[in-house]
Symmetry: none
Subunit: 219 residues, 4 copies
DNA sequence: CATGAATGAGCGTTCATTCAT
DNA sequence: GATGAATGAACGCTCATTCAT
């Protein structure tokens, strides 16, 4: 079972930026926390500044406006996420393993950085900017990567070829997203969220998609 | 294949309300259109009034405030939707058929009333009110109904019992939601959205969940 | 000596507007006072609202923004002014009489509505909008009207034809403007500003332009 | 025809200031350009710094604040201008010649340093500081110098004594100012602005004020 | 001297909500 | 019921000014 490089997902992007980059990052992290807890619209720029421990106006040294903060979070975090997915998709392991890794990726990210995931899943897609071509394209990147996993599996004869790859891809992503959502909202508890429970959940969701729900009779 | 009573999903709820009810309904429908096209936060009360063809302040005769409009839409539409799902879940047909009906229900609703679905899927879950217990509970009703379908199927020996019913339920709902989302955003086109294409999509998604992706060897 | 219809210059433009027009006018008059005393940039919208005795936000029912208030004042007042000048220019009296009327017009307007004149002379021309084609054109209308007076006088043989009409026009307008400016600033007192003093001033400035400064010797 | 020392009008005031003075001057020149092109209010301190090619905060080593920059420009430029006017006024040439020199002075300054003139004419008089006694007094200096030219001419019997010298002075200054303004705005084109055209304009405006517009009959 | 990050008061604008008619 | 004028709190953004280095 190949290892997936998850580090980029949870490492604050502070690599060699110097002081300027640090403060910028401070703002992004603060904004992420604030957006996650009050929502984009409910978050005041002053909240972000206070959370970041900086003066109001300084936010505007680093970002043109509030929108740009959200856009930046999206671009950096989503980009890092899809990069990892791309890496997974490009691997040579079986599709089943790739799907397992993808599921693990999502749950792992949520466990380690729930705020980031909340913002990506809830705030971005709700912001008015979500309908802009740039964002659509970013989402498209993920979809294409996942669809590629499915298609490769089909072509390799590992996965059934009679199901539309796009549909499968949407279903799988949707399943993962809803699992996270339900965690966030606490609307329906999956088994307690722990390392081992996550492993179990990952195993189950992959088994569900691969093996299907139907009982296999000897029929 | 039992018929599902889909009418409540798409009928404007005008039953015996008298004049007051009609104008109220006008506002709700107008609000739905406006929310669907500009989002809840982007929608001004004046936009709703104009769309409904009534005077500005009249909105406040029928609703305490803007929030209440969204809440009402949610309560009425979501309630009608879950009622139908409950009905399906309570039926005696096999689980596979129930899942098929559920999938058809969702796609049918979107085809007939895309605005309603957009508002339910995008706006409600994004509104700050979504975290309120009342709303959580409403979503819980849907989850429980779907989980019941799964559980009943497992107990009847039709579905595998080794997968957590809640997880399966979340996955199925998530799959359907993401399909709709991708239609709305046009981010990934499924086969053309037509009656027959929908039928095909419904069949595929159910087959995906029941039969699984894995190729069946004779093994 | 023909009478000039000065009424339009000093009549608040309230003709049959109904309640809506009245409040709008209230705002314009208040804004004129505030602009005149603190300048456009120094005037806060809240100052205007307070001066008009209305609520802050109401200003935005009647005007899209602060700029539009200034634009409106300019359009209405300047337009009325140039209309009168046009009328004078179109008359059949001698050019000398027309210039006399023009001078009287300007001083009369200042005496009756110093705030209006201050705003027209000081604020408009200083606002960034002054370089917009629309405003330039409005100023051009005045210049053309005055140039016409001069040109007609030259063609009628009443005025010397060897001086460029545009130059004469600019000089005459400039002379009047500077007289007003000096009044406003108190930088150089002309004879006390009274009805009879104004008459004297009007007479002098016209005599200056017609007769010239040079002493007429028998030579 | 006596020569007028126009050099001070167009020489950057760099006399023996050392390094400090040079950078200070750089800022003033940059500020003049920026004020001329965007107006005082539209000019940001950062614009000035960028235009001067220096760091943001350095401006505040040389000037207490933005106002002081404008004040300094005014004091230095206006002072130099009025000094020359004073010199002209103190001369022994006829008043007509003095007026000719004054007109030439103004047009010459505009031709050589349009930015300076724009700032003096447009920005200063519009700044809120224009109503401060200091500035009023500075303007008064000019007026008094010009009025002195007129008065001396009257006393010498060269100019008519029946016209108020102040009024004549205002009219003459206003005429010159408006000529410049019309050039700046392009609202009414005088003959092409060239050396010879300026000479012609100077000649005309002086002839206008001396000889008057009226046709001289043999009467 | 020089830099530019940091500060925060100030203001224009929006828009949900109220209320007089 | 119906209208839309009136209200004012709230908030994003600007930018002059200060200050640590």
């Amino acid at each position: 079972m190949a290892r997936v490089p998850m580090a980029p997902l949870v490492a604050a992007a502070t690599t060699d930026r110097g002081a300027r980059g640090e403060k910028r990052q401070q703002i992004l992290e603060a904004a992420t926390r604030v957006f996650a807890s009050r929502g984009y619209h409910g978050a005041r720029v002053s909240d972000i500044a206070r959370e970041a421990g900086i003066a109001y106006g300084l936010v505007y040294h680093y970002f043109r406006n509030k929108d740009e903060i959200l856009d930046t979070i999206f671009a950096e975090r989503w980009g890092a996420f899809v990069d990892v997915v791309d890496e997974v998709a490009a691997g040579s392991q079986p599709a089943s393993e790739k799907l397992r890794q993808l599921a693990a990726l999502v749950l792992f990210a949520y466990r380690r950085r729930p705020d980031w995931v909340k913002v990506l899943v809830f705030e971005i897609q709700r912001s008015s900017r979500f309908s802009e071509p740039e964002q659509i394209e970013a989402v498209g990147r993920l979809f294409r990567a996942v669809a590629r996993i499915v298609r490769d599996g089909q072509e390799a004869g590992e996965l059934r070829g009679d199901l539309d790859a796009n549909l499968v891809c949407l279903a799988f992503i949707g399943a993962l997203e809803t699992m996270i959502t339900s965690q966030v909202l606490g609307v329906m508890r999956l088994p307690e969220s722990s390392q081992s429970a996550d492993d179990r959940t990952v195993g189950d969701v992959v088994e569900l998609f691969l093996g299907g729900l139907a009982v296999r009779g000897r029929s």
